[in-house]
Amino acid sequence: MTSPPQLDVHHLTRRFGANVAVDDVSFSVRPGQMTGFVGANGAGKTSTMRMIMGVLAIHGGEVHWDGRPITREDRARFGYMPEERGLYPKQGILDQLTYLGQLRGLSRHDAAQEATRLLERFGLGGRTRDKLESLSLGNQQRVQVAAALLHGPTALILDEPFSGLDPVAVDSMVDLISERLRDGVPVLFSSHQLDLVDRLCDSLVVLADGRVQAYGSADELRSRGPQRYRIRTGHDAGWLREEPGVQVLDVDGPTALLQLPDGIPDGLLARAVQHDLVEFSPLVPSLADIYREVTR
């Protein structure tokens, strides 16, 4: 079997008047990987996603799918959840999902069957005939997710997919997305919820003012920052201030927060043992910390 295709964004640029909203943005969304897309409001996330989906004209750069320039047909197989929500408020939810499935080339029967299956998984099996506007916002969001997953998409471009969802809904949605990931589908999702990004992402693209500030796998990014450690000894940890190669960031009685720019100095741990060492552990920064660091 050939390896599943990957989505590549090459030097993507978009201007609105004099303002450069997306400035030379490049990254890849690898098959079977969840790529988080974070950045402040107006950083260019939505514009980038709309250019990937072909609903916003590209001013510079290219989007590649499976190693070649992306086509209409490629995009038609993607699953897309636009930033501004909304399907047809006054139409039954099963009916409109069936319609969207048909537009993506499913037969009426298949589209209805798959839509019913997804709605049941979201706990909306008994409300398939209800109008969208009669559902709660969270449930409307689930229908929106179903619309993106309906046709067995080859890639998922999800703009703020988790906003407005309760934790249970987030979990059931993550389950569904994970299934697609296991099939080798690349997933790009933007979010403001950094805890979720931290939990879900395999890699991360941090955008600020239209430019990529940081990009890499979660592990790479975590190890990129300065190495910090926590140390706890039996007595007051003030002695650490005298140690060479050690920057003490904070001391609180027997506990201290250290930064070790050149790694762990020789003899440090031996002396710590003499001070009745209780704990010495590296601190893994959260992606939220990294995000704050690079966008500061």
Binding site: G86, P89, G105, G152, G184
Partner: protein
């Protein structure tokens, strides 16, 4: 795609690769039609219109078919005879006349005041008097007057030694219409009014439907999802086609209901000519409607809220009004010119065709012009629609829309 078949819990049908459907516009068309047909207000308004048509046919059949009985009082044999003469004239009009005798003129006057009789006929020194209460039915009055005239004339003729028939000889005027459109003028006007009104009503009603349905998708950003699935112009085609079909279907329904009603009411012979004139109207209706539909779709795509739509639809409603009034009131040269202006011609040309002989090339050329205009408007509409419908934010003007970038 082979990668979509791995997951064990996916149904085999869903594993079929998604692709653009063979006829995306057809999927859109079907949705437009189904949504409208399941829309309660549309169904109700259509049903109401059908009820109105049936009621209209019923009332006119009732009005045409009912008969009145007039009661006329008379005092002596002379007035009695005259009143009997009026009876034949009344009977010829489908009504009935009863003559009641009274003993004296006072008794007759009392009977008129008590409304026992509709009128009383008395003979005085210088002629006959028809006595009524508050008013006298004109039909009755005409009939009695004719009868009195007949009676007096024949008496006078007898006195002069001749007969009424001899006196009248050669005095009758008969009419013969030698123009080609003899007898059609009034009927053509009525038909023209019906055609003009149907076009006006459908063009505005379904035009607003198209504009609103475009706006709904723009407002809710569904269009962004649709645009990733199928080319945007396919959405436009589907909407124009779907709503056109609905408009034609509704008019056809009204027509069929009207014809059945007319047949049931036994009035079919009166309106048969209308049917033969409808062919051209149907052709012009279709062409004119499609030309307008593209404009409506663009209006929907330019708006950002339904309030915008209220103000921006003014010009197109204006054009439809011009078509309506040109059809109803234009004469001569003006009507000839109007019958070649696309959209306006949808009313004006059928009316010319109803009113008189028009060389065959004229409706054909006019129809072609409308079709060309429809094609151009759809092309133009496509370009604006594609850009405007993706543009969120405030409403945009036509001028801005041309400069917009997708």
């Amino acid at each position: 795609m082979s990668t979509t078949t791995q997951s064990p819990d996916r149904t085999p049908t869903a594993a079929a690769p998604a692709r653009t459907p063979a006829h995306p516009w057809l999927v859109v068309t079907v949705r437009e039609v189904v949504v409208k047909l399941t829309d309660r207000s549309f169904v109700l308004s259509t049903a109401l219109m059908v009820v109105l048509i049936v009621a209209g046919v019923g009332i006119s059949a009732f009005m045409g078919g009912r008969s009145t009985t007039f009661d006329v009082g008379a005092v002596d044999t002379s007035t009695g005879t005259v009143a009997q003469g009026a009876q034949q004239l009344i009977a010829a009009g489908g009504d009935d006349l009863q003559v009641t005798s009274y003993d004296s003129e006072d008794a007759l006057r009392a009977a008129v005041l008590d409304e026992e009789v509709d009128a009383g006929l008395v003979q005085g020194q210088d002629g006959f008097t028809l006595i009524g209460n508050d008013e006298i039915d004109p039909t009755l009055q005409r009939a009695v007057s004719s009868a009195v005239e007949e009676h007096v004339l024949s008496q006078n003729a007898e006195a002069a030694g001749t007969t009424l028939a001899e006196l009248r000889e050669g005095a009758t005027v008969s009419t013969t219409l030698i123009g080609a459109d003899a007898g059609r003028a009034t009927a053509a006007q009525v038909a023209g009014f019906i055609f003009a009104f149907l076009f006006y009503m459908s063009a505005i009603m379904f035009g607003m439907t198209i504009a609103n349905s475009v706006l709904e998708e723009k407002q809710n950003r569904v269009v962004e999802i649709l645009a990733t699935a199928i080319p945007v112009r396919q959405i436009l085609y589907g909407k124009v086609l779907g709503n056109s079909l609905l408009a034609f279907g509704q008019i056809a329904l009204f027509g069929v209901v009207g014809l059945i009603g007319v047949n049931v009411a036994g009035m079919a012979s009166d309106v048969g000519w209308l049917l033969s004139a409808s062919g051209w109207f149907a052709a012009f209706f279709v062409a004119g409607f499609i030309a307008l539909a593209a404009v409506w779709a663009v209006l929907g795509s330019l708006a950002s809220r339904s309030e915008d739509l209220q103000s921006s639809t003014g010009p197109v409603i204006g054009v439809i009004m011009v078509a309506l009034f040109a059809g109803l009131f234009a004469q001569g040269m003006l009507l000839q010119v109007a019958s070649f202006v696309p959209v306006v011609s949808s009313v004006a040309m059928p009316i010319r065709l109803l009113a008189g002989e028009v060389p065959l090339w004229q409706p054909v050329v006019s129809l072609l012009l409308t079709l060309v205009a429809a094609g151009l408007l759809i092309r133009l509409g496509e370009r604006i629609y594609q850009r405007a419908v993706m543009h969120s934010g405030a409403a945009i003007s036509w001028r801005q829309a041309f400069r917009l970038e997708s």
